[in-house]
Symmetry: D3
Subunit: 334 residues, 6 copies
């Protein structure tokens, strides 16, 4: 009935421990991740009922990925399997002024070969009330774009809420479609826009700056251009260096602008998936709280994610709420 649907690639993440480079390492830690999966897992930790739809390799690596989804109690009944290998990404974690580096091995992965005929969207969305998508999926292959489009159309027909995180990654989009056209089509099936000025400029063809006033103006244009969209949320990251960030959020919900305080993240543990934690907090929040509190919840969730190793936010509702309520000094839970 109330199921949240996420759809996207699952990749194996491989990285040396700590700040080691591969050239120094002999052991790697591995996790599974993917922007939409991260959102789904985070909502599951809040207690949400989440179904993740993806295509995994039909080998022991795919088995391991599947067990990872099951471990956190995602609905995996719509997962499909393929003869192709699972996508992999390699991560070197930076520190201070050294940036983290990522190298991908995903271009012929199990998920990238997905086609609309492989997903039974009717069955998959049966109990769905919310669908979340990101700009990574349409950027991979024509098949993944078309499959997503078909799912979104059905979701809107069924009256589901649709949150869009149209992250634009320039290294992708290699299959001959114009990103702006593709994202435009998908945003017309969406109801909540999660993204910054860059994404707004990309889909609007504008050139707005980062000020709050420009954010509001851009948001209004988004809502005007995509009438199904009613709210726009943005997360602002201020990086002192790789190890120390500040996070805040702002929104325009058609009527009101609101901006949260900065969270000061003085000792980052893992920066991957923090945007996904924000989206997850927002999706959960918008179903339970007012818009402003949703945004505070989302930015607290995002801040907390920086303290967990791996791609996923492990925080529970209670743990996020404690942050929202201002308990930032980290006293022991006994």
């Amino acid at each position: 009935m109330n199921q949240i649907i996420t759809f996207g690639e699952v990749m194996m993440r491989l990285s040396p421990s700590g700040n080691r480079k591969f050239i120094q390492a002999s052991h790697l830690e591995f996790y599974f991740g993917g922007t939409e999966l991260n959102v789904g897992l985070s909502i599951a930790h809040f207690g949400g009922n989440v179904k993740h739809i993806t295509c995994l390799s039909d080998d022991f690596i795919g088995d391991t990925a599947l067990s990872y989804l099951n471990k956190f109690d995602l609905d995996t009944t719509a997962v499909i399997r393929s003869k192709r290998p699972l996508g992999v990404y390699f991560l070197e974690v930076g520190a201070v002024m050294r940036p983290s580096s990522i190298s991908y091995n995903r271009s012929h992965s199990a998920f990238s070969e997905i086609e609309p005929s492989m997903v039974n969207w009717d069955a998959a969305l049966e109990n769905g009330s919310w669908f979340h998508w990101t700009g990574i999926t349409p950027a991979l292959t024509k098949g993944s774009f078309e499959t997503l489009k078909e799912g979104l159309k059905l979701a809107r027909e069924k009256g589901m809420q649709v949150s869009a995180d149209p992250t634009y990654r320039s290294g992708l989009w290699n299959y001959g479609v114009d990103p702006k056209d593709a994202l435009t089509e998908l945003l017309h099936c969406s109801t909540v826009f999660i993204g910054g000025i860059n994404e707004m400029n990309e889909v609007l063809g504008t050139n707005f700056g980062y000020s709050n006033d420009e954010f509001i103006e851009a948001s209004k244009l988004i809502i005007e251009k995509f009438p199904s969209i009613v709210k726009v949320f943005d997360k602002i990251r201020t990086s002192i260096n790789s190890s120390w960030h500040k996070i805040r959020a702002r929104m325009w919900n058609g009527k009101k602008f609101y901006e949260t305080q900065d969270f000061d993240i003085t000792h980052i543990v893992d920066r991957i998936g923090t945007g996904d934690a924000f989206a997850a907090g927002l999706i959960y929040g918008l179903q339970h709280f007012k818009d402003t509190k949703s945004m505070e919840f989302a930015s607290a969730a995002c801040a907390l994610k920086h303290t967990y190793v791996g791609d996923v936010n492990y925080a529970t509702i209670d743990e996020v709420m404690r942050i929202v309520e201002g308990n930032l000094t980290g006293r022991f839970n006994r």
Copy 2:
């Protein structure tokens, strides 16, 4: 002749490495700890002659705990063994705004079944000159409370100094005794009070705030109510978040108020046992220095403990003294 006596439970501490949660882990680090043991071990690292009295399980886990005490040259001749298992605690280490979490498995442990008849206090205190106790021991079971009380009474009869750290932990005290009554009885056998406003309010039934003036007033009441007590020491922790604290100390020794500078602990390695390191520094200091220097020594020891993994302060006298003398920039020792 000059032996320092500590008495209390030894538990196995289990935690994933780094900031991992158990749900992410497959390996755990283990240590042994316990608030009174931590004090004893820390004093042993200063070169003190320390005897720890406890009850360990009579299995290979108890053997391992015993070897841990021997490793640091504690006098273990008064350790007793029991058929019951050793207490265990599980720790998830937080970061930034995420608090650390602890879960205990101690309620039917070897130590919790201790009874006065099991400890030969005459023999155990034979060479004792100082006895240190904390509010954890009387909070566990009637047996541990009674056993401690018997030891303290004999200690005072023998003219030993007794330091009290009446930490109040609300999750304990489940065996039907009123904490205030029990602590009052034990404080009447004590000569040095180590504790903050919360503990003073608890035993005085007052409601003092955190200001220095109120601290002095409360300390005077402590000394008035418990005539054996002649000095009161307090450690003040200012938490920016889980990873960044400041520490300072203050005291009222019946005549004089004194307060140290803050130590700024910008990158905490392990926060467990830092209060115990303070108590150990104080106990050592009061036997070798004036009160004010004792307090500086104690707060330097406490600050240093934040840089060691595990429950124990490994700092030697020389290492603490270097901090007391203001060498805070961490130049190499070669």
Copy 3:
């Protein structure tokens, strides 16, 4: 409809890696296990639909145990939570002539406090067709014995198959019930007996030896004394030393004696849970194969389990069948 029900304690298993003793270790590996859970997980790896019923601690350790059950897709809807801690067991793995050693911390665990009123057996068995129990559960506490008994009675009323593995562990049974009486009551609710001569002698009050003839005679007595039981299976282990065992199986199914060949397990990886793998193989086999093939399947499953670290048999149907078919030389799967 076709669900297999397992009921029993889940414990955290802690052990140093390799053949280290705790006294040499600073890191531990952890797993979750419990004889009935091991059976359930193994059947789940064969593709079976399994529900495990247990009581877990209501803390992050219990959360981790729950995620472990979910990971392998067990039905966890009937799991209950308690304020008491999860049971723990410590394992030192032997080698050659050195035996492995186990120390338990389970006597006041979450599961041991279970009472019949805490399990809704009607709902729990709704889709059940097979119930598996072992002699560990009734040996823990009166509550666990009574809860199991209630479940078994309902299972038989519903016409479910019931497999009994009445393993007798002398260190348990401390709550004042006679093991023979308790097991007798439970065996009267069972249809398949899995156990060796020792267990048969225990419940029959006989003194049979290990020969096949005596096994047949004892089996006949079991079937006579417990009319609901129709088949008896036994697993025979020949230990050259801690690192090298041989395994075979035998049965009496009321009509026919059958005995398998020995599997030669020359380099044991982990011996824990191998009996559970046998039981799981049998339960799966009896639902899909003839009795003799079931036994071959079970003993191949048991042999394979010796090659996996942890309590659980990870072998799939195909992997077991390859062994049954005689592919023992371990050629690569590519």
Copy 4:
């Protein structure tokens, strides 16, 4: 002048430690390997001058692979780099009757896109005296087959020795060429044949069995069909199970049949790359010893490789010679 040339794919090997499955693991060990590279590295450990020609990814993974080749002092001046990712293979190490399992992610790797135009064979073979190839390279893609063919032709023109290990892997050869045709072409450029009855049957279209007589007959046919080939070597593996093998070698050098004794490898550490160690031993041996001693050297090298973790044989000349001389009891080197 005297350089040995190896040409083939370098892959990253990822595996859990010990006998763990991926589903149980959180950490992986990584190595680099590839059948021809393994041969080259092994010869380098014997002190040979080896150049390995390959195509690596142009990212930090490729950098790490390159540093791995440099570490063992291979000549890497002919290594080329590509925008595509490095191939990866995943390994689960079996034990006793459980086979090891491998899953590949190599189909669109950096090496698989190689084309003849990318290698400057004239420069690459400038100092070459021996070229080694295997049946994996022509099985990958048309480009890798053509590139190898071009190199072999030049090698023969220059009068270099060419050793062929035409291992047939049925999971490959997916690009539309008949394996028999391709291997035939390449064998016509070869002077030493290293392979078993299966490979001989594959290229001859015959159906010989494993007896020595049939081996001799098949070898004669090989030499007849491929006049450039003058010697045939075979390695015979007898597997008791995954953990315990026996190895011996046999040859037909156009005049004489010779067979070595069995080496009994009672506790296999890592079975990967043992065939490559045999080939390396043979290539080194044929340049320094008579044929029979070469074969003894090769089979001792092969046996020793089973005792090293990873894909590579680390044994030096001296270490292999000690085995050849019959020192099998493993007395300490101090």
Copy 5:
């Protein structure tokens, strides 16, 4: 009163885990060892009162070594400290036909600079009843030889038993003394000879073979030449390969020859220190049992040591006795 004295160098042992070579490793395990220390620690595990006399470096490495001795409750009151570094040895563990390799960094270590004036033998031997020495100590430096000699002379004056294990290591003895002369002098202060035919030939200048008859003849000559010696014990190792040994013992006690059965050690965990475990078993046994049982105890202790990682035998009296009594199948201890 009843203290056993051991005297000798303590070194740090560094080795990669498993069978890795240093060239493959990035992490090392470390232990402390030394042949005489290993004997002392093993006797301490049997419950013996042992004092180890040595010279450690005066840095944090020496502190760590000292804590290691304390951990197992050795009497460390006679340990001295020096400005020179602790000796180190590096170990690569072989497998099957690959031998283990050791490289030493000990020639200017703290212990090697010891001089008679540095040890207060009167105080050190105050409670001593047994002194154990090996051929390593006199082989290091003139100072260590002289220091040992002084201790042995006093031990004999005090009527202590002295066991000699005159292991001859040809890589040592570089300081200009003839090994035979030095060992002869020391054996004249000894009462029990532990050593094989090689050692007997070395000190006798004979050429006996390995048969029992020759062992008896050689033993008689030892007893004749060194009248203080009354018993000769030998341990016979049959190596199938690095991973699989057999062990038995034999003796001539002046009256009687006796030989034990072989222990079959099919899966060696760590071979280092197994000779020391034999000596320790013998020293303990000769104080508690008849000669023949002492030898059985010693060879069971030796066999068990092969199952522990590190230099030390962790077996307790009970654990050894179980082996002596024939319990070799490694059934669980619960």
Copy 6:
């Protein structure tokens, strides 16, 4: 032609992971380092052609060190081997106010026995254009001082640039030479001086303070006293504590004073080798950039080194240039 020559000891570095002390550890990480090697390796990462000249032990530890140099493509043709062991140093990494501690075992190492006759300087410097030396080498032994001196003289004869980093370490210089005299001799063969006020005071016999004016005055004196020296560079470290430093650089190049901005290194990963990274950046920079940019490059390289574990700066030219260009916020490289 354009080869950079470094000459100095290579040591094995052993340290527990994280901030552990040896007394808490059972595993160590190991690296190889040495101040001149660190400089050479860092320049090799910039793409420079570097030859390192040293003496390694002739055992598997020396082999491992050699493979480490090869791994990063240093020219190792002038490496010599010795029967003596490789030097070792032990490191405990501090945190916050706790300093790191180092203990050396190098006094009789392979390198310390080097003599001028052991290095063929003509061949070694054949393609050299730059020679870098530090004050560690002449401080070790007379042999290492003399060998260095001979190399420097030839380097100057050949017109090579010579950079001097006359670090003064008071724990060394134990062989009877006056440091000031030795350094003076070597500085007369140098063209670039890298060092702080302390080093200048040491060789000038002055007493300058840390101000820029005093730095300029001291630099002028250096250039006056050592006419071959034309430029002086200094790196200024401001330590908040062990975990948080600031770095900047200043220079006097005979004409002009220049000072860089501070880099704020808020979360130090590894502080070892950061001075070497500065020297390497300077040497590379002076060959490619103007003096001021060289200094900016050097101080960016130094700052980046604080983010890599181990002794070596892994940063590439591009990575350093990004810092020089002001990209300090650590955005991902994808």
